[in-house]
């Protein structure tokens, strides 16, 4: 199959129907990754020109006008393309594609995947995802008080004037802003935990607000207690 044929098949109703059999996010991603067309595209995407074509297609599909009373018919295709790009492309390309896909209307699977990739871009400091940071965070900032808190915490970071990692001062500001935001808006009253949706690897993070920051020694001790396999999965 040529690249064009593969992409046409991925954008067909048939492909969408096959992968949309999933009952949940993990199942969807499992089915997607196991699909022959995705394998074939990933194989072709070893070539830079193919990766560029896929990234370009993500931008095109994301910008298409859709019938807003229905789900975006390219939702599955966008997720497939983002999955292939995330496996084969440089982080800045992935972040840019995810940023574009996050703007696609009425998507179901793609909105979660693009948020995840954008969040990853935030954590690793890829400045190409700057607008996505703003898009994701400010879109969710429905309460004025914590919107303000986020804005003040993120101003340097979004300006992109310094390289960002979670270890930098700005990174600490990001975490502080997120904590403030989530304390006010995202914490279930029942257990006072911020529970984040599970990732593709099955990881579920819980963050207890107000928990004391670990010292370097304590962090090293805690990290050593985590099984090697888990840490490898987290890094992957």
């Amino acid at each position: 199959m040529t690249l064009t044929e593969i992409m046409q098949s991925i954008e067909s109703y048939g492909f969408s129907s096959e992968v949309n059999m999933a009952s949940g996010t993990k199942a969807f991603r499992r089915i997607l990754r196991g699909h022959e067309l995705v394998h074939r595209l990933a194989e072709l995407a070893k070539q830079a020109s193919v990766r560029a074509a896929v990234a370009q297609r993500v931008e095109e599909l994301s910008a298409l006008q859709i019938d807003k009373q229905y789900e975006n018919r390219f939702d599955s295709a966008l997720s497939a393309y983002l999955t292939v790009l995330s496996d084969t492309s440089a982080p800045d390309v992935v972040a840019k594609a995810a940023q574009a896909a996050a703007k696609a209307e009425n998507t179901w699977w793609t909105v979660g995947l693009s948020r995840e990739l954008v969040t990853r871009a935030i954590a690793t400091g890829w400045s190409a995802a700057r607008m996505s940071h703003a898009h994701i965070i400010l879109r969710l900032a429905s309460n004025a008080d914590w919107q303000e808190s986020i804005q003040s915490g993120f101003v340097k970071w979004m300006a992109g004037t310094i390289p960002v990692t979670v270890g930098t001062v700005t990174g600490a500001q990001i975490l502080r802003a997120l904590r403030t935001a989530e304390e006010k808006a995202q914490v279930p009253k029942k257990n006072n935990l911020i529970v984040m949706p599970p990732s593709e690897e099955g990881e579920t993070l819980a963050w207890k607000p107000g928990r004391r920051r670990l010292s370097r020694h304590e962090y090293a001790k805690a990290a050593a207690a985590v099984p090697q396999r888990t840490r490898q999965a987290a890094r992957a």
């Binding site: 949309n20 059999m21 009952s23 949940g24 993990k26 229905y70 789900e71 979660g112 995840e116 949706p197």
Partner: protein, 169 residues
């Protein structure tokens, strides 16, 4: 990597205020309807591979867990099912023969909950000592079907446990 501020939380405007009978919030999110031509293709693919299934309804707003636990209004991720079963007082029914109409079947794929179906009828098959169990479930976003409890899409795995919310059993 997890999504920091995710779908289904209280701040998600596609989520319903949904709780267990004990009051714990059930994260959920409502999905849009598939376009009619897309839904028709999905149903065709289901029926092609599972000819004995009977189509009951074509909607993609809810998934199987939303059908069983949220009155067909929204989607619930499988990770929340153990909490719902516990909070809503479901008890496991050990023997398939003891399963009754209204009970549920939990499916697992690779050790993880992957699907749920609601039992419509359960009659013994005297020829082989098994149960003829007719169930109803939502297949992904592809509509709701009546089917034998063993006749499901590969991605749903296999039926592993039965539960009932009946009191006094």
């Amino acid at each position: 990597m997890a999504v920091l501020i995710g779908l289904g939380n209280e701040t998600d405007n596609t989520a319903l205020a949904l709780a267990t009978s004990k009051g714990a919030r059930i994260p959920n999110s409502r999905r849009g309807e598939l376009a009619p031509e897309q839904m028709r293709e999905a149903v065709r693919i289901v029926m092609q591979n599972h000819a004995k299934c009977i189509l009951r309804s074509m909607s993609s707003v809810y998934n199987c867990f939303g059908m069983a636990f949220a009155g067909r209004r929204t989607c619930i991720e499988p990770e929340h099912v153990p909490m719902i079963l516990q909070e809503d007082g479901y008890v496991e029914v050990a023997q398939p023969a003891a399963v009754m109409t209204g009970d549920i079947v939990i499916y697992e794929y690779d050790g993880e909950i992957s699907h749920v179906a609601v039992v419509i009828s359960n009659t013994p098959d005297l020829t082989n000592g098994r149960s003829n169990m007719l169930v109803m479930s939502q297949w992904g976003s592809h509509g709701e079907y009546l089917h034998d409890y063993r006749d499901v899409h590969l991605s749903f795995g296999r039926p592993v446990r039965f539960y009932s919310e009946r009191r006094g059993i």
